[in-house]
């Protein structure tokens, strides 16, 4: 009997050791996500994070990383500067090795913290250009913010140059007039500082920007002012509601869409080319343009689009052709790929902020499954790619008017305090 008890005890000890070993081999990787579920970008946030969570769950089932358990922690930061900082601190205390936010305002609050704490962050918030090009900083060095798109200034410059080419092709003489409009925060203001001198150099006459408060209920004054100034190109980096409002008020002001001396093209940014704008603006959206990096939802030939549609059917029982879902999927695709590369280079158990940062800066042609161009970063380069698509609203749908991606200029500010290599503006 004693021998039996001893044998049982030995077997249990061996099993326990084995279990402990197995548990010890699984590394928990914490990432912190700032989710703006309330506030002005509540709609986009819901879509982005749904897609992120669905795809992350899919990856853990269908493409698991052995020994890695992903723990995603989040807070509702309400697109509010006061909430980003405490959330950041809590994520840091929880051991987050990487963070994700979806806000230029977040970057204006947290950009330097990410740098000083050396925690990389993935973000679309490139309205805050100092995240790209740090200025007036004591400790020089590149940013820890890795963007999922080029700066809005590059995007709008590319869209404006496409317009200028079409203007010249149509045989119009003279300088077309262009203006920016948007509410008073980094996101809409983002393109203005770098684009204004660049586009002036390229042959536009730049009109004063029309800035308004985010509480505005109509943009009639701004539309009337730009019509009076005979703007041929109106650029606006705003969310769907304001872009739709701009389209409607432009129509009310008597603006005629088209390319020509007495006509205007309204050009939106990445939040514009979706069905919400067409629903809200109705006929007033017919003919407007928008620039972004995401493929159209009818591209079933693309792996990423096909997968997102499957995930939508599984979770929502319907297809919602909105680029915000592709945005969320970008983050999950990227982080999963990065974790695999970190393990490949540094081994299991070494998914740390420092290693993630190094792998990100070495990333070349990372496959985004066709939902966006492949991602490549560099020691100082934080743009993942330098190309965009131009979309136009036609007959109640957004269609891509550029046959392929258009190459974007890479605009640099005058200061180079971060020691960025000088790149000649294209």
């Amino acid at each position: 009997m004693v021998k039996g008890i001893l044998a049982a005890a030995m077997i249990m000890a061996m099993l326990g050791t084995g279990t402990t070993n197995a548990l010890a081999q699984e590394t928990e990787v914490v990432i912190g996500t700032h989710r703006d579920f309330t506030g002005p970008i509540a709609g986009p946030a819901l879509r982005i994070w749904r897609a992120f969570d669905w795809h992350t769950e899919w990856l853990q089932k269908n493409d698991p990383i052995p020994g890695v358990k992903l723990k995603v922690i989040w807070e509702d930061t309400a697109y509010s500067a006061e909430r980003y900082l405490p959330a950041y601190k809590r994520f840091k205390d929880a051991g987050a090795v990487l963070m994700i936010n979806t806000s230029s305002t977040a970057n204006s609050v947290l950009g330097e913290l990410h740098r000083s704490d050396k925690i990389p962050c993935i973000t679309p918030g490139c309205g805050y250009i100092y995240g790209f090009f740090p200025k007036d900083i004591k400790e020089k060095g590149p940013s820890y913010l890795f963007y999922d798109r080029p700066p809005y200034s590059d995007g709008f410059a590319g869209g404006a140059m496409y317009f200028l080419n079409q203007w010249k092709k149509a045989g119009h003489k003279g300088k077309p007039k262009a203006a920016f409009t948007g509410w008073d925060s980094p996101y809409p203001r983002g393109p203005i500082e770098l684009d204004t001198p660049y586009l002036t150099e390229q042959g536009f006459e730049m009109l004063p920007p029309e800035i308004y408060a985010v509480t505005s209920t109509d943009l009639r004054s701004q539309a009337m002012s730009m019509k009076r100034a005979e703007a041929n190109l109106i650029m606006s980096n705003v969310t769907e509601k304001f872009f739709a409002m701009l389209c409607k008020d432009a129509k009310r002001a008597g603006v005629k869409y088209g390319i020509g001396p007495d006509k205007t093209i309204i050009l939106g940014g990445s939040e514009a080319p979706n069905m919400d704008v067409i629903k809200m603006a109705g006929g007033a959206a017919e003919g407007v343009w928008a620039v972004d990096s995401f493929s159209d939802f009818d591209r079933d030939d693309l792996k990423g689009i096909k997968l997102m549609k499957e995930l939508q059917m599984e979770h929502m029982k319907k297809i919602e052709p909105h680029a915000n879902y592709l945005m969320g999927m970008q983050y999950s695709t990227l982080i999963w790929g990065i974790f695999k590369k970190v393990i490949e280079k540094y081994g299991k158990g070494n998914i740390t902020s420092a290693n993630i940062y190094t792998v990100l800066t070495e990333l070349k042609n990372f496959d985004m499954m066709g939902i966006a161009p492949n991602f490549s970063y560099g020691p100082y380069e934080r743009r993942p790619f330098k190309r965009y698509l131009v979309h136009q609203a036609k007959k109640g749908k957004w269609v891509t008017v550029t046959p392929n991606y258009i190459e974007l200029p890479q605009l640099l500010p005058k200061w180079e305090e971060a020691g960025l290599p000088g790149i000649k503006v294209q």
């Binding site: 505005s216 969310t239 409607k248 919400d276 809200m280 603006a281």
Partner: protein, 298 residues
Amino acid sequence: MIYFLQVVISGILVGGVYSLVSLPVVMIFKSSKIFNFAQGALVMIGAWVAWFFMDPAQGLGLPWPVGILLALVTAVCMGLVIERLTLRRLIGQPLFATMIVTLGLGAVLTGIVAGFWGQINGDSYPPFIPLGILESGPMSIPIDSLIVFCVAFALIGLFSLFFKYHRYGLAMRSVAEDHQVSEALGIRVTAILQITWALGCLITFLSGILLASISSVSHTLDSVALVCFVVILMGGLESIAGVLIAGPTVGIIEKLTAQYLDPLMGGGLMQVMPFVILILFVFIRPYGIFGLERIERI
């Protein structure tokens, strides 16, 4: 000069909506001395309820006259519920208490909208108001804004007459002066307060529908209340005529600022200027254009 006139007309048209949104606040204050800080949230919920009845994809898809009618019926019910459950108990209570309750009510209503429709970025109504413009030489007036302005002013005119001549309107004015005297005259104060809130919510929902029809159904419609508080204080807390004058005045101030001052200052002054004017105005006429000066005898 033509352009200046165009700007002024634009301000008058948008001011019509401000007047309509401000009217229920004045009505409720006149009859119960409660300043309704939930007005913005009620405007927003009115727009979304009407959208729910009318939208074919994510709502009930009813024809727009039926949808709007049902939204107004919902408004009346909501007004009765709000009065009965929350505000009746505040009669005679300190002003601060009523402010806090209506602020809380606004937060609850905003949360209800977010809870039901937070995942929808925004939408528009079926086009029951045409989007065209009326052109006369160099002047152009948006048809939808003109229609909304006419409806707003017709309603305001109607309610002015209601308060002056209809027995319920007179009863509301009596209740506003003194509850005890009104009871003594045979007026059921609680019933009148219910009618006030029901009517107030009905007008508020209608103003939300009209506002959303010219902008869009969105989660930031409540921000119109910020401007309306300026309209109310400028016009006088208890004056419907004041609201009629102050609404377009504030609209004109906004539009002129946007056209002529914002380009000089880099933008953003349009929303601030009405408040600046209000502060200056309050120094000269603290009770508003047509507000009543209260003299307390000690």
